[in-house]
């Protein structure tokens, strides 16, 4: 577009194991970039002010709010989104499968963020008890489920039953 003065910056990063190079608008959040430029629409934007947690993704293995981090800040980092949780053959991760078995979702809009939050948390704290798990989950809002089935799903993949 001629006369388009919107600032853009080149970024190179890894997304779900794939190398990505792009010119991104400076003001795009990581969530915007994933959804708009990479068409990874599984990451959802629920509040865009950092409270609801729907946009949570992993950056270098840590749970990060996709709405609070700028895309340019992800330059050189490893990003994992919900699209990267299942294995290459499409098999669900144990946590994803547990959500299916325990009815851990209803509308499914908050689910990707919750799965990413819990994936990071369970990797860090495989011995967590229910109270700690609920505390870790308290940064993600789900309006549908009332949380209990999510907690049950997460507890079912904690030790001694194996990793996420």
């Amino acid at each position: 577009m001629t006369g388009d003065t919107r600032p853009r910056t080149r970024v190179s990063l890894t997304v779900n194991g794939r190398a990505v190079e792009a010119m991104v608008e400076d003001r795009f959040s990581l969530g915007d970039f994933l959804r708009r430029d990479l068409a990874l629409t599984g990451t959802h934007l629920g509040c865009e002010h950092g409270v609801c947690g729907a946009c949570t993704v992993l950056v270098d293995g840590e749970a990060v709010r996709g709405c609070l981090m700028l895309a340019v800040q992800a330059d050189g980092r490893h990003v994992t989104t919900i699209e990267g949780l299942a294995d290459a053959d499409g098999n669900l991760s144990p946590l994803q499968q547990a959500f299916m078995d325990h009815h851990g979702l209803q509308c499914g809009f908050c689910t990707p963020g919750i799965l990413m939050t819990l994936t990071a948390y369970i990797n860090e704290s495989p011995d967590a008890d229910e109270e700690a798990l609920r505390d870790a989950l308290s940064g993600n809002i789900c309006r549908c489920t009332g949380y209990d089935t999510i907690v049950q799903a997460a507890l079912s993949v904690l030790k001694p039953k194996g990793g996420v």
Binding site: T41, L92, F109, S138, C144
Partner: protein, 779 residues
């Protein structure tokens, strides 16, 4: 496997595989070639006159394609407002919103212009640069102020702020009060909150200039209402407007009416001849998506010497907000819900609906019932206190006995039929809940806790809920030529797992597994008529229609196979996609082959009486609502220093008739209670006296989170209704309805040593501390 039945089983959800992989298709995930995006210019004032609008700076912003105001809309939209959803003679001022406000805005957030750009970011830049000459006007920011003499006018041209007046009742209430041994009077106030689905609203529209048709995707519970509104606004034929719901990320009520954006985005798509998207952000959701629950109640009960209620007199003021998209349905539901599960021999209520300069109110999970149940249950507690009886005892003395079913309450429900409770055992529901909650031992627990300086309390909430409202929700079932089965229904889904539930019902009729079935919901192009997903009505209506339609298809399959094999249809059975002679391994034919034959194969002659295509439609039309019921018992601990409320135990006895999928019903109840906990202790949409919204982020407006919501102890009673072929009632709202009443009662009970009364909800920590301080200063 013969005798396999999916109805009643906790079948895993057909919806999950895509949603768990991030492959859902929500509104904002839709990308069409050449699509542009929008941002709206919204009023910063609760009430103002709209002067000149200067769009020149906005048009110069990089990426901006255009700006549209009310006056730039096509002529056919000038002066037109959104179709009123439910007209009623009780409405004195049937005012709905304009697509874009022309001369006057009546709540903060009402849109006056829209900026179109190549992405949302640029559109927002443009919206900031639209200059509007506003002339602020006096405003009403509180339901209590609306009827005061000299109150500001919410709409400049109106004589007063009254939107509707309704009077309901039966029996001789004056005689009841004359003969009463006790009269108990209280006033209650319930505050605004909203649904806050995690997905906000949004619309994508595409105008096909060749076919002269719209395709409109909208995140709604009611696609057919959107279609009706677009047809009305554009004066098109219904065939020219196809409304499709993608995956919808939660509804909870506020997505069940037509919004201005659902008319503005289509008109832009037609003007620009390219697809247009608008995805609401959370701030817009706080400002412009409908809310509910601001009501003021005055209730008086006439009670005899034994604690039996003789009559109830009540007055209700209901906050409509700025417009009436849903008419005056909520105050009507409140008024007809108040008597609830109790024998109330006489009843009189006057409900006044008033306009205020806040976003309109429309049905929100419970729809007028949580407020009515709060008023009634708080009144039961007040009567108990007044007569020196236990709250459980006063309720037990007044509950409708099981042998009185069906019970005609004496009122007319919103569907025009009498309020006639169809089935249920209310005394048993309360008894079971009290037993599970350890109610009998509670005084000892409470005394022991108090000895440790801890304040624990217990509270009860009983309710009856009209569900499964008609007039209908249709379904078509078709066997496809590949042997799979398709179900189409108008009922949009927003997390309730309609696909799974409807597939379970269909699977049993056709002898197949649910994974053989593809369900399409909420697409007006696939189902011409529909009402929508609200009023806990889909399993009753669409579920029954699927049963009827699938039964029709089963009959056709058998008739065709019977003709082929020259046998009696009665001798055939359906199993795993085959029609075969019962119990033998002999002749059989697949659904796929029968579908191919009946789809127009040359040379194939249909047997007598069998219509072409392996398809049938069902339109179940219920004669009246079905009434679900339940009892909640909450046990809480209150920190008297900080006012923090912790829920220690929460018991739900729930009766929605037969359960199609118990795990899904549990999920509805648990999620509903979480919403009710929000309404009880957290969620409050605060406005200042002039109607300026003060809580517009999730930092100010607190939603229930995982460390607050307990695991509810849910007990199902199943009293099948005789009113539909499945014996089911609605389950989507019962979790929410009595929760504020039960929790607030428990908080009050915990604070017994301070002798405070709580007559409002939500009850937040600062208010609890304030009440304790006030009580201590008075002693």
């Amino acid at each position: 496997m013969v005798g396999r039945v999916f109805f009643g089983q906790s079948v895993k959800r057909l919806e999950d595989p895509d949603l768990l992989r991030g492959r859902g298709q929500f509104l904002d995930d839709i990308q069409l070639p050449g699509m542009v995006e929008c941002a709206f210019v919204r009023s910063p004032f609760p009430h103002a006159r709209v002067g000149a609008i200067d769009t020149s700076d906005a048009r110069a912003v990089p990426g901006v394609i255009g700006v549209c105001t009310a006056r730039a809309l096509p002529d056919h939209m000038h002066g037109k407002r959104i179709l009123l959803q439910v007209p009623s003679p009780a409405i004195t001022n049937p005012l709905t919103q304009e697509p874009l406000a022309t001369d006057e805005v009546c709540f903060a957030g009402e849109a006056v212009a829209v900026v179109i750009a190549d992405n949302r970011h640029a559109a927002e830049d443009g919206a900031e640069r639209v200059i509007v000459e506003w002339e602020p006007l006096p405003a009403v920011g509180n339901v209590a102020d609306a009827l005061k003499p000299g109150a500001a006018k919410t709409h400049a041209a109106m004589a007063d702020n009254v939107a509707a007046r309704q009077a309901l009742g039966y029996g001789d209430v004056d005689a009841a009060f004359k003969n009463a041994a006790h009269v108990v009077r209280e006033s209650y106030h319930t505050h605004r909150g909203t649904g806050h689905p995690m997905e906000c609203r949004g619309v994508v529209a595409d105008w096909d200039a060749v076919d002269q048709r719209f395709r409109i995707w909208t995140s709604t519970q009611t696609p057919h209402n959107t279609q009706r509104a677009v047809v009305d606004m554009f004066n098109l034929s219904e065939d020219a407007v196809r409304v499709i719901t993608p995956d919808v990320g939660g509804g909870f009520g506020p997505k069940n009416q037509v919004y201005p954006e659902e008319l503005v985005i289509p008109v832009l798509a037609r003007m620009l001849e390219r697809p247009v998207k608008w995805a609401e952000d959370r701030r817009e959701h706080f400002l412009t998506t409908t809310q509910e629950r601001d009501q003021l109640w005055d209730v008086a009960a006439a009670v005899d010497a034994d604690g039996k209620i003789l009559g109830i007199k009540a007055a209700l003021i209901h906050d409509a907000g700025a417009y009436l998209p849903w008419g005056a349905i909520m105050p009507y539901i409140s008024a007809s819900t108040l008597p609830g599960p109790y024998v109330i021999p006489s009843y009189k209520i006057d409900a006044t609906t008033v306009f205020t300069n806040m976003i309109s109110t429309t049905p929100l999970r419970g729809a007028g019932r949580p407020q009515a149940v709060f008023a009634m249950e708080r009144m039961m507690d007040a009567i108990a206190r007044s007569l020196g009886l236990d709250p459980a005892d006063i309720r037990a003395r007044n509950l409708i006995p099981a042998d009185a079913m069906p019970y005609d309450m004496g009122l007319t429900y919103r569907d025009g039929a009498p309020v006639k409770y169809d089935s249920g055992d209310y005394p048993e529901a309360q008894a079971k809940a009290l037993h599970r909650a350890g109610y009998a031992d509670f005084p000892a627990r409470q005394a022991a806790a108090l000895a440790e300086g801890r304040h624990i309390g217990i509270g009860i909430g009983n309710y009856v809920e009209g569900t499964g409202l008609g007039p209908f929700e249709g379904a078509t079932v078709r066997v496809l030529t590949n042997g799979r089965v398709a179900i189409y229904t108008g009922a949009a889904a927003a997390g309730q797992a309609h696909k799974t539930t409807l597939a379970q019902i269909c699977a049993d009729e056709l002898g197949i597994t649910p994974d053989m079935i593809d369900v399409t919901v909420g697409d007006t192009g696939k189902m011409a008529r529909g009402a929508g997903t609200y009023a806990s009505r889909i399993t009753v209506n669409a579920g029954s229609s699927v049963r009827i339609a699938a039964g029709g298809v089963a009959g056709k399959l058998k008739a065709l196979a019977a003709a082929k094999f020259q046998v009696d249809p009665e001798s055939l059975e359906l199993l795993d996609g085959l029609v075969r002679i019962t119990g033998t391994q002999g002749d059989q034919v697949s659904f796929a082959d029968l579908a191919k034959m009946t789809s127009g194969m040359p040379g194939f002659v249909l047997p007598d009486g069998v219509a072409p295509d392996l398809e049938a439609s069902g339109y179940f039309t219920p004669a009246q609502a079905t009434y679900s019921n339940g009892c909640h018992v909450a046990e809480v601990e209150v920190d008297a220093e900080t006012g923090r409320v912790k829920i220690l135990n929460y018991v739900v006895v729930h009766d929605c008739g037969n359960l199609v999928n118990p795990k899904l019903v549990d999920g509805q109840v648990q999620g509903g209670v979480a919403h009710g906990i929000g309404n009880a202790i957290l969620e409050n949409m605060v406005y200042d006296a002039d109607g300026n919204p003060l809580t517009t982020t999730f930092g100010d407006y607190l939603m229930p989170t995982a460390e607050i919501v307990p695991d509810c102890d849910i007990i199902h009673m199943q009293s099948p209704t005789p009113l539909n072929p499945l014996g089911v009632k609605g389950a989507g709202e019962g979790g929410t309805i009595p929760a504020p009443a039960a929790i607030v009662a428990a908080v009050e009970n915990a604070l017994k040593p301070f002798n405070i009364r709580i007559t409002e909800c939500p009850i937040r920590p600062q208010r609890i501390v304030q009440l304790i301080n006030a009580a201590q200063q008075n002693t």
